[in-house]
């Protein structure tokens, strides 16, 4: 086993453990901390795929902004003080659906005959990525920034308190 594979299995194990912690933890704050672990491990997977730019973006946006936002909303909605069970009655069905999807996707990934090179990563340089993003994908890029703006204004309007509340 090459050292790359050792690193891959380590990062993959951390990712899966973190993800399992998110869905089974009994304490919601622990759940959010497991989410940070899983997201940072996914950044490691991105580095193994030689997508360093996306790994940096992942750590900045997910590791920083999104998880902090989630923790703040947990605090504001007092999730911890809720006496009810965290999981609904549909747990067996959920496990069944997840298991069925897992079996299907693993079977498809392993048995498919992928065209092209499946053993070797070709590194995409930063320069080419930026070039493509701002030339070929310039219109979707601008639309995405508009979507972000609209979503943030909408979030502010939804979350602010009204008169007399």
């Amino acid at each position: 086993m090459s050292y790359e594979e050792v690193i891959f299995y380590f990062v993959a194990a951390v990712t899966v453990l973190g993800a399992l912690g998110v869905v089974v933890a009994r304490n919601v704050v622990h759940s959010a901390l497991f989410l940070i672990l899983a997201l940072l491990a996914v950044a490691g997977v991105f580095i193994l795929l030689s997508a360093e730019f996306l790994a940096i973006v992942q750590i900045l946006i997910y590791g920083g902004a999104v998880t902090i936002l989630i923790l703040f909303v947990m605090m504001l909605t007092r999730v911890r003080d809720m006496p009810q069970a965290l999981d609904g009655p549909q747990r067996p069905f959920a496990a069944l659906a997840a298991g069925a999807f897992l079996a299907l996707s693993v079977l498809a990934a392993v048995s498919s005959d992928w065209p092209g090179e499946t053993e070797k990563i070709t590194v995409v340089p930063f320069r080419e990525l930026g070039d493509a993003l701002f030339r070929i994908w310039a219109v979707p890029f601008e639309v995405a920034s508009l979507v972000l703006l609209v979503a943030l204004i909408g979030a502010i309007i939804l979350a602010r308190s009204e008169e007399g509340e």
Binding site: E4, F8, V16, A19, L20, V22, V23, V28, L35, L39, V42, V45, F46, L49, A51, L54, Q58, I61, Y62, A65, V73, M74, L76, T77, V79, M82, Q84, L86, D87, G88, Q90, R91, F93, A94, A95, A98, F101, L102, S105, V106, A109, V110, W114, E117, T118, K120, I121, T122, V124, L129, A144, V147, L148, A151, L152, G154, A155, I157, L158, A159
Partner: protein, 102 residues
């Protein structure tokens, strides 16, 4: 080198865990966190296909950037809605928010 199947299997496992979380949890914030896991699985898939199979076009990398952008917008908006629901109903459990059902 690591074969592409390893990344695809990891992505499948992550997506299944996300499915379980979305279906089993009752609290809206925990459901959002499970949705984030599913989006991560999709990003891994996109990037793996981009760098292994079509490195000369790398559309998958661009798609992953857009996935992260839209996910950030989605989280901001969803958490705003959850805050509003909590203020109006006093709960963030999705099975108690049934104003559209009668």
């Amino acid at each position: 080198m690591i074969p592409i199947e390893n990344f695809l299997v990891l992505s499948g496992i992550l997506f299944s865990i996300g499915i379980y979380g979305v279906l089993a949890r009752r609290n809206a914030v925990l459901i959002i966190m499970s949705v984030e896991l599913m989006l991560q699985a999709v990003s891994i898939n996109f990037i793996a296909f981009a760098v292994y199979l079509h490195p000369e076009q790398f559309t998958g990398l661009i798609f992953a950037i857009f996935v992260i952008t839209i996910a950030a917008a989605e989280v901001g908006l969803a958490l705003g809605i959850i805050l509003r629901i909590f203020r109006n109903k006093g709960t963030a459990n999705v099975d108690e928010v049934d104003m559209l059902k009668w």
